[in-house]
């Protein structure tokens, strides 16, 4: 019972679901190095120009591609009423992942490709060849609803290589505190599983926040890991149940009760923005905020003062200029009718990264004001401050 969470990116790109399951023999051929070498030869490239080998072979072996990371769904399970687990067989381009990272998965829904980010909850070694994603089905989630209703073995989805900076350092820290809130548990449990797989023997505290006891995904799994590994200390906190010893939101008292020397630990926290902010504040008190590594899974909200929105935004390559407002540069571009590439829309995946030619922008995640020189920025999480020119 592995899991992933759906970062609530609202709209995106996408890949075609193929209707039939690929016969095992064909799939094996697609995975085979011989076909791959043959298909990648310059002779075949010249013979299939200008379309390229992929555009022919994919009609026979949908998951095959020389250039695109694709995966065939080999198993679909429904662990709970509101989740679906996909076991994926990626093609040979898959490079594995580091615990805490995420992949973007693309499916085609009514002709339109849609992309969502999911964190595998498996350990690094388990995710080297096969990938397992458990997707929480949101009541209004286009992609998660679609996957629960239509995912089937043989369906081919497009993936991106794993990315994200929310990973454990190497060598592993001497004392670790892993904190998660709600469905932010998936990258963090992947870290815990990886540590256990590696035989890591330094103290690890796993602190998870859920609203109520029955909402804790992986509870059995967590308890099993804690009982098998003496260095793993598990603490479950319920924010809406007052009956237990430790409850409510993150505080010093709470942390102290869980782990007396918590301030010495390297902290990895994933959950709602409030949880991360409280963690940062607690360590910042002692000037130790550098020990906190956080990742939020909710799209950031734009907050800028009115004095910052009176410039103009120029999209140089498209020769379009608009008046700046309290929107991200990505939203500005889309409103002007442009179609820049984007993925997560929350400042994580860097799909939307674009060259800023001049002007200042504010990062709405960090609040940081950029310099005014040319640099690459993520347009989904940058708002203009005065005049800005983009190479878009």
């Amino acid at each position: 019972m592995y899991a992933a969470f759906e970062r609530s990116a609202t709209r995106d790109l996408a890949r075609a679901p193929r209707r039939r399951a690929t016969p095992a023999r064909l799939r094996a051929l697609g995975q085979g190095g011989v076909l791959r070498r043959l298909a990648g030869s310059s002779l075949l490239g010249a013979l299939t120009a200008p379309h390229g080998v992929d555009r022919y072979l994919e009609l026979v072996i949908p998951s095959f591609s020389l250039h695109d990371l694709r995966a065939e769904i080999v198993e679909v399970r429904y662990p709970t009423l509101n989740s679906v687990t996909l076991r994926l067989q990626p093609n040979e381009l898959w490079q594995g992942f580091q615990a805490g990272q995420f992949v973007s998965l693309t499916v085609e829904i009514d002709g339109v490709r849609r992309t969502r980010c999911y964190s595998p909850a498996v350990s690094e070694s388990a995710g080297a060849d096969e990938l397992e994603l458990t997707i929480r089905v949101h009541p209004h989630g286009l992609v998660s609803q679609y996957l629960r209703a239509h995912a089937h073995p043989g369906m081919v989805v497009e993936l991106t290589q794993a990315s994200g900076d929310f990973v454990l350092p190497s060598p592993r820290p001497k004392r670790l505190l892993l904190i998660s809130g709600g469905s932010g548990i998936t990258p963090v449990i992947s870290m815990l599983r990886t540590l256990c797989d590696e035989g890591h023997d330094a103290p690890v505290t796993f602190l998870h926040y859920a609203r109520q006891e029955h909402e804790v995904a992986y509870r059995a799994e967590l308890e099993k890991l804690a009982s098998l590994h003496t260095n793993v200390h598990l603490a479950l906190v319920y924010t809406r149940e007052r009956t237990r010893g430790v409850h409510g939101h993150l505080t010093h008292t709470q942390l102290h009760a869980v782990d007396r020397s918590y301030r010495r630990a390297e902290v990895y926290v994933c959950g709602p923005p409030g949880l991360i902010a409280s963690a940062r504040a607690l360590w910042a008190n002692k000037g130790l905020e550098k020990q906190v590594h956080g990742e939020s899974f909710l799209p950031p909200r734009v907050r800028t003062g009115p004095d910052e929105v009176n410039g103009s935004v120029r999209f140089a390559a498209s020769d379009v200029e608009v008046t700046g407002g309290a929107m991200t540069l990505l939203e500005h571009a889309e409103q002007a009718g442009l179609t820049p590439a984007y993925g997560c829309r929350m400042g994580i995946c860097h799909t939307c990264t674009c060259r800023k030619l001049s002007g200042q922008v504010r990062n709405i995640n960090s609040g940081e004001l950029s310099s005014s020189e040319a640099q690459d920025i993520q347009i989904c999480s940058s708002v203009p401050v005065g005049d800005v020119e983009l190479d878009l």
Binding site: A46, L47, S318
Partner: protein, 452 residues
């Protein structure tokens, strides 16, 4: 067949624009799986024809195999260029987000680099359709296709040029963006063309290598037969594409426009110009597919970025709109439409008074030219109304007098009128747009083309 160009009142133009916008919006809202399945089916058919055609040609010594191979390969190239390439490159499937159907990424099986085609066709031809001096599809710079083009002795070769262009159409299209006739007119600018030439060279090299070197060599002793087969397939595709494309804008009854009268067109005027400048072909479903649905040239020019297989579905409605506004809906079978094009090619080879069977000259007596003043430029960006950027580039002065006239006639356009009035001070003279030979100069139209 009408000899004088239909005129519409400002109010009619406005409602024409609104009606056609609404029709477009209805189709866009309906786009979905059906459209994707359609184009993928076509792509599968094209790839299957190509693979089987090339496969059969490895048995070229058997005449039936050679013939079947040539037929399959010709069909493959026609499908690739017309219903798939041309339409995908218009961005008709950009909404799907599939990179294989991306207008910006697609490359086709012909000598012309896709990148240059997107400029010369999607931008130049579709923005400035049938505007003399701007739309270089009028004669491709090598054929005299308009009475407005002054006769010179070299036009005696008109039919010969047309035949050559038909036979080598893929190279004609490849050279299209170079604007060679401008070089002859004394605008060398070789430097700016060097990158274009580089692109053409790389594309032609790849195509030549595949069709005329690798596949023949791979077939061993049958090489000459395979080479001949590939050349034949290219020739068939060339002649077919030429025929269909020349039926798009040159049959009797299509109209031409001047740069002056099309300055500052409103959306209604832009639509009207597209309808008056295009001609359809009648035929079977297969014929429409093989023509890339360019047989619905009128619908295509109204909505270049709507999936082409939808044109047949909206044709009746467009026709009904034309009838209601008493506009011609130029259509006919291939033989009669192409016949009139051929007659025109021959007629324009010799000097003399035009018989005025095609485009009437714009005369001073025309009570109201097609283009009055207006701010809305053609914008076919998917699913959105013209934005401020569409309505006029800052610093592009409007004709003040016309603005006043319009302001009186249509208070509804107050917002854009204000914008135009504001620029009154800049110049009272109608400004001529600089020839669009420099890429990306014309902000508005360029963007419209980008989005198409």
């Amino acid at each position: 067949m009408t000899n004088t160009r239909p005129q519409l009142s400002a109010a009619q133009l406005q409602s024409l624009g609104t009606e056609l916008d609404a029709l477009r919006q209805r189709v866009i809202e309906d786009l979905g799986d059906r459209d994707v399945q359609y184009i993928r089916k076509l792509i599968r058919a094209q790839r299957a024809l190509e693979v089987s055609g090339r496969g059969l040609l490895f048995l070229s010594v058997l005449p039936p195999a050679w013939l079947a191979g040539v037929s399959a390969l010709s069909l493959s190239k026609i499908l690739d260029n017309m219903e798939i390439g041309h339409n995908v490159m218009h961005g008709q499937y950009d909404w799907t987000g599939d990179p294989a159907l991306s207008g910006k990424e697609f490359e086709w099986d012909t000598a012309c680099p896709a990148e240059q085609w997107r400029h010369s066709h999607n931008y130049m031809h579709h923005t400035f359709t049938n505007i003399l001096g701007k739309d270089r599809d009028i004669g491709y710079g090598v054929i005299r296709m308009s009475e407005e083009e002054p006769w010179e002795p070299r036009w005696l070769g008109n039919p010969a040029y047309a035949l050559l262009l038909a036979l080598f159409f893929q190279y004609g299209v490849a050279m299209h963006d170079l604007e060679i006739e401008r070089i002859r007119e004394g605008e060398p600018e070789w430097r700016s063309r060097r990158s274009l030439l580089g692109g053409i060279w790389r594309k032609v090299r790849g195509q030549t290598l595949k069709d005329y070197v690798l596949f023949p060599l791979l077939s061993g002793p049958q090489a000459p037969l395979v080479l001949g087969a590939n050349a034949t397939a290219n020739l068939v595709r060339n002649v077919w594409a030429f025929t269909i494309i020349f039926c798009g804008h040159f049959p009797d009854g299509t109209f031409e426009f001047s740069e002056e009268e099309t300055e500052n067109e409103t959306r209604g005027e832009w639509y009207l110009r597209q309808m008056l400048g295009s001609a359809n072909l009648t035929g079977s479903k297969l014929f429409h597919i093989l023509s890339g649905n360019l047989s619905f040239q009128i619908e295509h020019h109204l909505y270049p970025d709507i999936p082409a297989h939808r044109y047949a579905e909206i044709a009746e409605e467009v026709k009904e709109i034309c009838e209601r506004y008493e506009l011609p809906y130029n259509t006919g079978p291939l033989h009669s439409q192409f016949g009139s094009v051929v007659r025109k090619i021959f007629r324009l080879a010799i000097p003399g008074q035009s018989r005025s069977t095609t485009a009437p000259l714009r005369t001073a007596s025309t009570p109201r030219t097609l283009a009055t003043n207006g701010n809305a430029r053609a914008s076919t960006a998917r699913g959105r109304t013209p934005t401020a950027a569409d309505r006029g580039t800052p610093g592009k002065p409007k004709e003040a007098g016309a603005t006043k006239r319009r302001a009186g006639a249509k208070p509804a356009r107050a917002a854009s009128t204000t914008r135009a009035s504001a620029s009154k001070a800049v110049s009272r003279k109608p400004t001529r747009r600089a020839p669009a030979k420099k890429r990306g100069v014309d902000t508005t139209a360029n963007r419209a083309a980008n989005l198409r």
